[in-house]
Symmetry: C2
Subunit: 346 residues, 2 copies
């Protein structure tokens, strides 16, 4: 090997370092190609740039770069009901004798959401407990994995993991490339989400927070096993979200992204912190490509959040206007790009 002067080596290391982490790509290409050009996209990119620029007055050290995301309705769709409930309903179709009342079993088998909701939280818990209790976490997750392979959404016919939002995938990657740690903070069950979060979003199990059921230690098989006990041990929605984040991370996030009133306390706590903070709400305005709903929806209601977004200067993403693609580009993006060549050529 030839000898090199130190300055040469330093330059080569820097070049190698940059290309290894894809920084030149970041600097040159559009990091959010599925987002329409406009104020919202610019505000997100500006925030990331200023908080990661050491010369900026709003620079945030890497260890504080925490970004939290709701899951249902924020990273993937949630209509006509949460996908975890779709799983629970499928598995409750043949509930063991006595697990569900006759009326509830009929409502489950008809997928009659109105009738199910009439029974309140207890009916929902009864349904969820059929699949979510009395088995180890490993066995539960194997079953969820099998279900995700075979189940298809009743309206789109897509696999549920195909209904993740392409613009949000880009945002997650963009943030991670900029040194942000990305976390899920969802009302959904933590064991359920961890089955697909790493493949679907690049978010590993230890970065997933969610609602929890009872969990018990069993030594019945001779080895220590963790058995799901059902019911709700911790509900990670509304005020539960900042509580879960404080308990788990011990610090206030810099960025919070959600889509419903259940995310308002998480966004409030995040953006009331000192220094630069970013709150983002996804507004489901796109009846053509997804579903349009907000103040009146039983699932994912966005009412208080619509009012607070303006007062608190949160970015209110208009799905129909701000997103060039909803799901993967091969599904709905191609036609839209062809219809708008100027945007497509950016």
């Amino acid at each position: 090997m030839r000898k090199h002067r130190f300055s040469d080596i330093a330059i080569l290391i820097s070049v190698g370092w940059l290309s290894l982490f894809g920084l030149p790509v970041l600097a040159l290409a559009d990091p959010l190609p599925s987002w329409q050009q406009g104020d919202h996209k610019n505000a997100i990119i500006d925030f990331v740039k200023t908080t990661t620029d050491p010369d900026s007055g709003d620079f945030v050290p890497q260890q504080q770069r925490i970004a939290v995301f709701d899951n249902d309705g924020t990273l993937w769709s949630e209509q006509p009901y949460y996908f975890q409930l779709a799983y629970a309903l499928d598995r409750a179709e043949n509930a063991p004798e006595g697990a569900l009342s006759e009326a509830l079993q009929a409502a489950v088998n008809d997928r009659d959401l109105a009738a199910i909701l009439e029974g309140g939280n207890q009916s929902l818990l009864d349904i969820v407990n059929v699949s979510h209790s009395g088995l180890t976490v490993d066995a539960f997750q194997n079953d969820v994995s099998a279900w995700l392979e075979e189940a298809r959404h009743p309206k789109t016919g897509l696999a549920y993991t195909e209904m993740v939002f392409q613009p949000m995938l880009e945002l997650l990657v963009y943030l991670r490339d900029a040194g942000y740690a990305t976390y899920i903070v969802s009302g959904g069950g933590v064991d359920f989400m961890r089955v697909f979060a790493e493949d679907a979003y690049g978010i590993p199990p230890q970065n997933v927070m969610g609602s929890t059921g009872k969990l018990e230690v069993s030594r019945e098989g001779g080895e220590l096993a963790l058995v799901k006990g059902g019911d709700i041990a911790g509900l990670d929605d509304g005020d539960g979200k900042p509580i879960t984040i404080q308990r788990t991370l011990g610090q206030r996030p810099i960025i919070a992204v959600g889509n419903s009133d259940g995310d308002v306390p998480m966004l409030t706590w995040t953006t009331e912190g000192d220094g630069p903070r970013l709150g983002v709400l996804i507004h489901h305005t796109d009846a053509a490509r997804e579903v349009a709903y907000d103040r009146e929806s039983a699932i994912g209601r966005l009412d208080q959040g619509l009012d607070e977004a303006e007062q608190r200067q949160w970015i209110l993403v208009d799905m129909a206007k701000d997103w060039r693609t909803v799901y993967d580009a091969t599904l709905d993006g191609q036609s839209r790009r062809e219809a708008d060549p100027q945007e497509a050529s950016q």
Copy 2:
């Protein structure tokens, strides 16, 4: 800049990469200088080498390299009582009228542990609640921080954060350099530990698990605040440890380190996993430099663990024999090194 052939650049990048991460240092120097040469030190180093060597049959991918550590008695001392209890006792000396019974207030002021323990868990909770409830997490942590600055251990006269174990600090750094993520899983309170864990151990807040008190959202001051409600919401000891790890990380660790029977379920669950697993128990055998205690101790009892260590092939660290230094070398290590020049010259 001169042009270089690709192979030159690749070599230079590799060299730069290695030196940036300190790998040559790891390969050449003793990573655990405060550990005596012997089977225990060798077993730890062999385990780390084989699980991080891509050519080894026991290779563990980096995202699975999870190492969990108990805190009290494992990373720092815990006698004559847990240091968090020392804080609670100091702050309960002037408890508000009616918070403690007259007898309990007297026991607190006399630091009469036997009398306090006679009152059972309720007495302990009453004492803890004086300092751990009715204030925000931020205010609590500011108070703990102030206490850690001023408080001194009743026997050693050291600041509590000076009573961290030097060999364990070296082990934490060694594991992190080898791509292991290091976590605390302690019966101690999570808000308390996060005040010092990053400075003392290099473990950031989000890598600290522990017992939790009630936490409530308050909007009294106009902004959303998280207020400690006292009592115990989740006890992270015994069977609670694997449950907390599953809830928080969603996966079984590769390495677990503890020192008492409260750590046995965590070590059991860890080492019953498939593939390479390492369990380590610290046995407090060193009356001269620390405290000698095990099967009969009220604090940090190690009884079941002593029996299981042999059956389960956990490493049982003999503090007196295996550690050249207990606390920082300037405190007790220098004299020991001078007394044993052969060891010191390694």
